[in-house]
């Protein structure tokens, strides 16, 4: 590792993305990808300032209940129905360094597997006290945490009998716009993970395992909530220690 002092903002270009680790665009087992996958080769580009930079959000924008999905949509004195869990972890980069001040947004179905959305047609009940969205910002150690209920699995129109394993959607910003990432977290021990066409869009089994959060017994809150730990890795920057400088720069 080429750790430098953390005092200067990093401005180096990012490691190239290992696209064999991610799902390819075209994955016919996940039918919607068939008409939504670019067919031409991507144009490979070294990062310019437009990609190395990115928006960074302040802790001030986060409301008190933003990371509490049990209460952030509930009527006063009430709470969402379901198994109470805490999801926590760290956002790191590929060099293993903590990434602070990262906006992490999450959304999920309720305990019965139903989303609060006009186009949602699953017959499971709506929970009047559950909205399904939350957000937080990582601290100086890259750590984040939120409280929610464990989402239910749900059926979806793809194959004749396809079900999504229980999952939480994550949207993560880094410090550069090319670190932008959306993914999904799954729960340790769920046999449905390995049957899901969206999961199986990822070719490498160990890459899938990177999306499965283990139960974190040590951080379980007695008589209150179980904990799951989900670490997230964003693209890392190349070291710029010995980067060639052009004349006059």
């Amino acid at each position: 590792m080429f750790d430098k002092s953390n005092s200067q903002p990093e401005t180096g270009p990012f490691f190239a993305r290992d696209r064999s680790w991610h799902p390819p665009a075209y994955t016919p087992g996940y039918k919607t990808s068939v008409l939504r996958s670019p067919q031409r080769a991507l144009l490979s580009l070294g990062s310019t300032l437009s990609e190395i930079t990115g928006p960074v959000f302040g802790h001030a924008m986060i409301g008190e209940l933003d990371n509490d999905l049990i209460h952030n949509f509930a009527r006063p004195g009430e709470s969402a129905i379901g198994e109470r869990i805490i999801v926590h972890g760290r956002v790191l980069d590929e060099r293993g360094r903590a990434v602070p001040n990262v906006l992490v947004e999450f959304w999920q179905a309720n305990a019965g597997g139903r989303y609060r959305h006009k186009k949602e047609t699953y017959l499971a009940a709506i929970d009047p006290n559950f909205g399904g969205c939350g957000r937080t910002i990582t601290d100086a150690d890259g750590a984040y945490a939120f409280r929610t209920i464990r989402p239910g699995a749900y059926p979806w129109p793809n194959g004749v009998n396809d079900w999504r394993p229980a999952h939480i959607h994550f949207s993560i910003f880094g410090h550069g716009f090319v670190q932008r990432l959306i993914t999904q977290m799954y729960f340790e021990g769920d046999p449905m993970i390995w049957k899901c066409p969206i999961v199986n869009a990822i070719p490498d089994r160990s890459a899938i395992e990177q999306l499965i959060a283990p139960m974190d017994w040590g951080n379980t809150v007695p008589m209150d909530s179980r904990a799951y730990k989900f670490d997230i890795v964003l693209r890392g920057r190349r070291s710029t220690l010995f980067e060639n400088r052009r004349e006059g720069n």
Binding site: S37, N72, D93, T183
Partner: protein, 204 residues
């Protein structure tokens, strides 16, 4: 055996799914009272410097149908060509312009909309100026990993012709997929995921 490099693997991407609006723009899809407003919906205020413009567009699938469950995010420089980012070392960007916007596709028409300013020019790593451009990132159900592209302006023909990134496009008839249509102040940028007009997407 050599030492391990010790690098971690990037977390693999998964599709944003059909309900990405719940997570990213809850007020837009009627989940109110959680956040005061959706992030990224207002880019400018009355003190922002620069020429006001509007960008609208739609994302089309391979059958020519507009996506109604997409989210498009934009990232751009301020009017002086500076990014409002800790990684910007050339100066301080306009404090009244965040440079980042988030546009949910309309549930009926699929249109996204940004009220922003025309960005200034930003240098390429070798120092040559790039033409004014806006960086875009597109996610939706059926998109397994977010797509990066750029919008250039139709009234910047000279700058576009000298742009080092546009110059990298081998099939010259595809350059036009990155150039908005319309005229100031209203530009239209349609994104085609497939087909003869498939937008040039970047691996950056």
């Amino acid at each position: 055996m050599a030492q391990s490099l010790g690098y971690l693997k990037e977390t693999p991407s998964q599709t944003a799914g059909p309900y990405v609006h719940i997570g990213l723009t809850p007020n837009f899809c009627d989940i109110t009272g959680v956040y005061p407003q959706d992030l990224g919906t207002a880019l400018v205020n009355e003190r922002t410097q620069g020429e006001r413009i509007v960008i609208t567009g739609r994302v089309f699938d391979g059958a020519g149908a507009p996506l109604k469950d997409a989210v498009v995010e934009i990232w751009q420089a301020d009017a002086a060509g500076l990014y409002n980012s800790p990684s910007e070392t050339r100066g301080s960007a306009d404090p009244h312009f965040a440079g980042w916007g988030r546009g949910p596709a309309d549930a009926v028409t699929g249109e996204f909309r940004f009220e922003t300013i025309k960005p200034g020019r930003v240098p390429y790593p070798d120092g040559r100026p790039m033409a004014p451009h806006v960086t875009l990132w597109i996610v939706a159900r059926g998109i397994n990993i977010g797509l990066h592209t750029r919008l250039y302006f139709p009234d910047e023909a000279q700058a576009n012709a000298a742009d080092p990134v546009l110059a990298r496009i081998e099939h010259r008839d595809r350059v036009s997929t990155l150039i908005a249509t319309g005229t100031a102040p209203h530009y239209v940028f349609d994104i085609h995921l497939q087909g003869p007009q498939e937008t040039v997407f970047f691996d950056i």
